[in-house]
């Protein structure tokens, strides 16, 4: 009975979410089969390059969902979510670095190559423990979570909102980028961490490992989506939307809005960290460029294009924009940034609710022309 009501809570009136999860399930079946079973000569074969590319998009989709949770539902426009993604990525990168062992260029069993190059004698204290997978995974969540908690605690308690908050988050990611560029920080300077060999004993170059990472990304995305969906359909989610629409009113009704914002921001950061950790082994590198403010702004564009406040819309936006990016940067590299800018303008001016909003509009028009019943559309609106 309880499971049934939970299912109803997650999926009632949520056709988009059902389709989204359906696609994810289909991907988990089709992609491994087409990559591993179907021979390369066949037209149905999916190359490992494509698998990795898809896996990368999935991690971006998870990141976009995390941003949508705070921006679309709570109205916190974070222009620094890339920082949490990158921190998760770095934590994973550190684990992968330690897995290289003595197979590096310098063959030092204790120190990663870049430390040998810098003439360091021993591992810095903050690198300890990263040879253990569980510890690294803990840090993947803990480091972005803690940063978001401290940052959010200071910002929300001081009632920093709107554009000011956006600027501070942008400054946060920029400051982290500058810090990580420094060699003395001990994270590989501007080269970052790369040359990874294996993860949990599986060779990262193998097709099966790639498929494994792809599946892990799919599962993480599905679970991330379901968790976020649970949050936004709970009473907590309704409070969060109330904060977005009328924060003062929410306070005078008796909610400590700062705590709500703090927890949702922290959770979103943790989710971003997980996305980053899945991203790094698939692309094989993490460097300070991931902290660049531009990345975080691009992320906002994904969510805006897909449609704010729907979760699956954000994932859709991440997929579409990144596919376009892959295409443009290969075919017409100079045009990409212009295309991105134009896309953002078009979406904000003509499609304030993104692609998902456009689809809903078309659908509404159709149902309206069939049966112009005010009550039923209003009901559907509140349910969706």
């Amino acid at each position: 009975m309880q499971y049934k009501s939970l299912f109803a809570q997650l999926f009632a009136g949520n056709t988009g979410g059902k389709i989204f999860l359906g696609i994810l399930v289909a991907l988990t079946v089709i992609v491994p089969v087409c990559n591993l079973v179907i021979p390369e000569s066949s037209a149905l074969h999916i190359s490992t390059y494509t698998v990795t590319l898809l896996g990368k998009y999935l991690t971006f989709a998870l990141l976009a969902i995390a941003l949508d949770l705070v921006w679309g539902y709570c109205g916190i426009l974070s222009l620094g979510h890339g920082a949490f993604f990158a921190l998760g990525g770095y934590a994973m990168g550190m684990y992968l670095m330690r897995q290289i062992g003595d197979r590096g260029v310098y063959g030092n069993p204790d120190l990663p190559d870049f430390m040998v190059f810098l003439n360091w004698q021993e591992l810095p204290w903050y690198w300890h423990g990263f040879d253990m997978f569980w510890f690294a995974m803990l840090m993947v969540m803990l480091v972005p979570g803690l940063l978001a908690f401290v940052f959010g605690w200071l910002a929300f308690r001081s009632r920093v909102t709107g554009v000011y908050l956006s600027i501070i988050t942008q400054a946060l990611t920029y400051a982290l980028m500058l810090a990580f560029f420094r060699n003395e920080m001990g994270f590989g300077g501007n080269n970052g961490l790369t040359d990874f060999k294996d993860i949990l004993g599986f060779n990262l170059q193998e097709d099966s490992t790639r498929i494994g990472l792809f599946l892990a990304s799919t599962i993480a995305l599905a679970l991330g989506y379901l968790t976020c969906r649970y949050i936004v359909t709970s009473k907590f989610g309704r409070v969060v939307v109330a904060i977005r629409d009328a924060e003062d009113r929410t306070r005078f009704v008796g909610y400590k809005t700062e705590s709500y914002k703090l927890w949702i921001f922290t959770f979103s950061a943790i989710l971003s960290g997980i996305a980053g950790a899945l991203y790094v082994p698939q692309v094989g590198i993490i460097n300070p460029g991931e902290f660049s403010p531009l990345n975080s702004i691009e992320l906002v564009v994904w969510v805006a294009v897909g449609g704010r406040g729907t979760l699956y819309g954000a994932a859709l936006g991440a997929g579409i924009v990144n596919y376009a990016k892959s295409y443009f940067t290969a075919a017409l590299p100079e045009v990409w940034l212009f295309a991105l800018g134009a896309l953002f303008i078009v979406v904000t001016v003509f499609l304030p609710k993104g692609i998902v909003g456009l689809i809903a509009k078309i659908k509404n028009k159709r149902t309206e022309s069939k049966a112009p019943e005010v009550n039923s559309t209003a009901k559907a609106e509140t349910e969706s």
Binding site: I231, S234, K235, F236, R238, V239, V241, A242, D245, A246, D248, R249, T250, R251, F252, V253, G254, Y255, K256, T257, S259, Y260, W263, N375, A378, K379, E381, T382
Partner: protein
């Protein structure tokens, strides 16, 4: 002996930190979160504003204001624009901190030391001048959000409505006559309905003191009449403070009227007394 006094002073209920004073009773529906000895109305008044002064950049919005509201009373506060009516509400609900003076809820609770959400939780409800509801939520959800219950983060995440709470929401829907609009988003309501929804949200909080800022602004005559009924019905069990410009409306509900002028009380009494007061006539009609 002196030390003993000091120790006593240290232990005063209204001076200790909240987490010491607060005894966490289960938040069952119908029982308000009791802070022992706190909402103490045994002396009559529920709200004590004493010698309160608020200034913004040297301009005194509230000037040495002293005002008591009795438990169960319906009090109307009138006054020309800029008399400090809304600022006074802000001070009571914790939005603005007074520069001087004290605001006590009951005899023991110092409102100037509490934050907005705490003040709301101990039973002070507020309706804004500009009706403010949650536009994207349905009428039902608006009331659900206002529901008097544990409002901290984790309980809210797993909260499920009990039958009793549903009944309470239904009751309030009946009172504010929005039964047919239950599933309508609040942004689609008419102006008068929005005002009522906000009053309904206030009732959902089970407050002891209701602060109502211009409840009939923009209402039709019938709607205003209905609102007057609603507010007089609430007085008695609750204390109601109404700030209003509409004199007809004030006359229809008021028992006691307080006239504010330049941040302090100009006159207080029944509507007739106040209207015949030469000071009031001067302020309203000019010299």
């Amino acid at each position: 002996m002196k030390q003993l006094d000091q120790l006593r002073d240290l232990m005063r209920r209204d001076r200790v930190f909240d987490f010491v004073a607060e005894e966490r009773f289960p938040f069952t529906s119908g029982i308000r979160p009791v802070r022992p000895g706190v909402v103490d109305i045994s002396k009559g008044p529920i709200l004590y504003i004493e010698n309160m002064t608020v200034s913004f950049d040297g301009f005194k919005a509230i000037n040495d204001l002293t005002l008591y509201i009795n438990h169960g009373e319906l009090r109307c506060i009138i006054g020309p624009n800029g008399a400090g009516k809304t600022t006074m509400m802000d001070c009571i609900t914790g939005k603005t901190r007074p520069d001087e003076g004290s605001v006590f809820y009951g005899q023991t609770m110092d409102l100037t030391r509490m934050s907005e959400y705490e003040i709301a939780q101990v039973g002070i409800g507020r309706k804004f001048q500009k009706p403010t509801v949650f536009p994207d939520h349905t009428v039902f959800e608006n009331l659900e959000l206002a529901l008097h219950t544990n409002k901290s983060v984790w309980p809210t995440l797993v909260a499920r409505l009990t039958g009793e709470q549903r009944d309470h929401i239904d009751e309030v829907l009946e009172i504010i006559s929005l039964k047919d609009q239950v599933h309508l988003r609040a942004c689609l309501l008419s102006h008068g309905q929005t005002q009522w929804l906000e009053i309904g949200m206030m009732i959902m909080q089970k407050p002891l003191l209701l602060l109502v800022d211009e409840p009939v602004a923009g209402m039709t005559h019938q709607e205003a009449e209905r609102t007057a009924e609603l507010l007089t019905g609430l007085a008695g069990e609750h204390s109601v403070v109404v700030v209003e410009h509409d004199m007809d409306f004030v006359r229809s509900i008021a028992r006691t009227v307080t006239v504010l002028h330049e941040g302090s009380v100009l006159a207080e009494g029944s509507m007739d007394e106040v209207q015949n007061d030469p000071k009031v006539i001067e302020v309203y009609l000019g010299e």
